[in-house]
Amino acid sequence: MTTLQAPPTDLAPVVISARIDDFAVPHGREEEWRFTPIGEIAGFFEPDPAAGAVIAEDSSFVTVVDMDHDNAGRWLPVDRAAAVARAGAPRVVRVRVPDDTVVEEPIVVTLSGEAARNHAHVEVRLGRHSKATVVVAHDLAVDVSGALVTEIGDGAHLTMLSVMDGPATSVQLWHWPVRVGRDATFIGSTVTIGGRIVRMLPSVTYDGPGGSATLLGAFLADGGQFIEHRILVEHVAPHCTSSVIYKGALEGAGTHTVWVGDVVVRRDAVGTDTYEMNRNLLLDDGARADSVPNLELETGDIASAGHASATGRFDDQQLFYLQSRGIPEKVARQLVVRGFFVDVLSRLGSAHWRDTVLARIAQRLGMDPELESSLEETA
């Protein structure tokens, strides 16, 4: 199922604040919460002294420090869960790449929650004219609410990957606010295949003209998982580009995915070039996918703006064609699902992660690992 509707009058958040009490406890009918099973995450709407910290191992560019609320980045929470997490996070996982630095190897940050319920604050800051790849591997063994605050200096180039892979048991509520510097480039990808209830909210804004943001996503849901991605791109500066491509596959009764893509082009953002797309592949009749692209233009003086959304079932013609070449149905389905994801995964900027994720998707769908490796070999 696909939901399309007229956009609200303003897609950007109404309240932006560090104070918990500036946000009412959501009741579930608010636009930003209307799909979420809110009763099951209520624990994240109130401060919780028992909540633990989320940490990572120190490495060349990674340190874990105590939270200093007066110096916790320029981002402020936009909903109550984020305000609670920011106020409650005892530690900050800090990824810092100085100016004019090229980091060849990916910086892998493996998050680890200390308690059953945790508040996280992760900061990624890339200095100007630097270049790096950051991979954030989430801890899906425990419940986490937090933020992945990302700032990219002028002219810098950040490739970043959020990986949620693990048991389908935990709650993960994440904001991923990104500031893109003047002439900077951001390629930010989410791979979401684990978690019981996941809300991942990437948002992008620009600190100057010429910025480029590419947001990619691959998600796979089954067995009653709820996986929600909400994207907000706010074009505030001239001549910036944004490209959003999310693909999801889902199956099983009670499984529900949500994709909301909001793009706002402010009056000063002349020359904007933006495109967003979500495609969902229903592997059976039981699952539900909601897909809501919204585009709000405050200026007509732009290069291009477009959006597309489609949710479809398995294509019988494709299956027939493959089977008519002797390929058994199960293998044919594997080829089609793999093919569905491969284009978005090929843009991640890493063949290693493309293949890793493809293999994980094949594994999750109970597909043949031998075929998967033979496909990689041939490719």
Partner: protein, 255 residues
């Protein structure tokens, strides 16, 4: 020596308004080494015949039989039919996004041959088959049928034919949408396959043009869901000069 035996085949297409009969009693025998051209006007059901033999789920067989060397084809799944030795070169090959030609062909060869071909010999085999059809090696990296021109699609079909070496090949309007050069390349590729394997062929076409390149032993006129006249290659010449008019009226009278 293989034989595809089609006997009194009736089949319907499933539509929203219910089943509609398209094949109304087709009887035809195709042996190894022989080429049968099935010619008919648009809407006569000749492409349906190809799809029904291949097992397309849109159609349901209501009467009659199809056997390959005595084995019941109609109870086989689509992939079992292919592995039994039937190949349908489609008029409209299907795009499969994200699946490269090389991955597709190797997966198909693995299924057809019962084991994965060794990578090195496979790459060589594929390259030679592509060269024979004058196909750019880069073609193997493209996604199956995605953005292919009409000529590229048909070359790709014949490439599969050459690699899979079926016992019986069914060519459904392989000439449609081809310019002369592409038609020649595709026909030469097919003729090389036929010569090498001695396969039997069912060549379905609306026009006689392709018969200048692929010579049939038998020509059948297909009207209103069945064969209304059979003859040798000379029948194609009659169709070329007189068209289907005479047979269409004959077919309508009969039904």
């Amino acid at each position: 020596m293989s034989t595809l035996q089609i006997t009194d085949l009736h089949a319907s297409v499933l539509t929203d308004e219910g089943p509609r009969e398209i094949l109304r009693g087709v009887t035809l025998t195709v042996d190894s080494g022989s080429t049968h051209a099935v010619m008919g006007p648009n809407g006569s059901g000749k492409s349906t015949l190809a799809y029904v033999i291949a097992g397309h789920p849109k159609y349901v067989v209501t009467q009659g039989s199809v056997t390959l060397d005595g084995q019941d084809v109609l109870t086989m799944s689509v992939d079992e039919r292919a592995r039994a030795g039937l190949f349908l070169a489609m008029q409209y090959p299907v795009e499969v996004p994200g699946v490269s030609v090389s991955n597709f062909l190797r997966t198909s060869a693995t299924a057809m041959r019962g084991e994965a071909p060794k990578l090195r010999t496979w790459v060589k085999e594929m390259k030679e088959a592509m060269a024979a059809l004058q196909m750019d090696p880069k073609f193997a990296e493209r996604n199956v049928n995605e953005g292919f021109s009409g000529g590229e699609k048909k070359r790709h079909e014949i490439l599969q034919l050459a690699l899979m070496k079926p016992k019986i090949a069914i060519l459904d309007e392989t000439d449609s949408g081809l310019d002369v050069d592409a038609l020649r390349a595709v026909s030469e590729g097919f003729n090389a396959f036929r010569e090498e394997t001695g396969a039997g062929t069912l060549l379905i076409t609306h026009y006689t043009r392709i018969l200048q390149y692929i010579h049939p032993d038998h020509v059948h006129v297909f009207v209103d869901g069945r064969i209304v006249e059979s003859g040798g290659p000379e029948l194609a010449a009659v169709l070329e000069s007189d068209g289907y008019e005479r047979f269409v009226s004959a077919g309508s009278t009969a039904s």
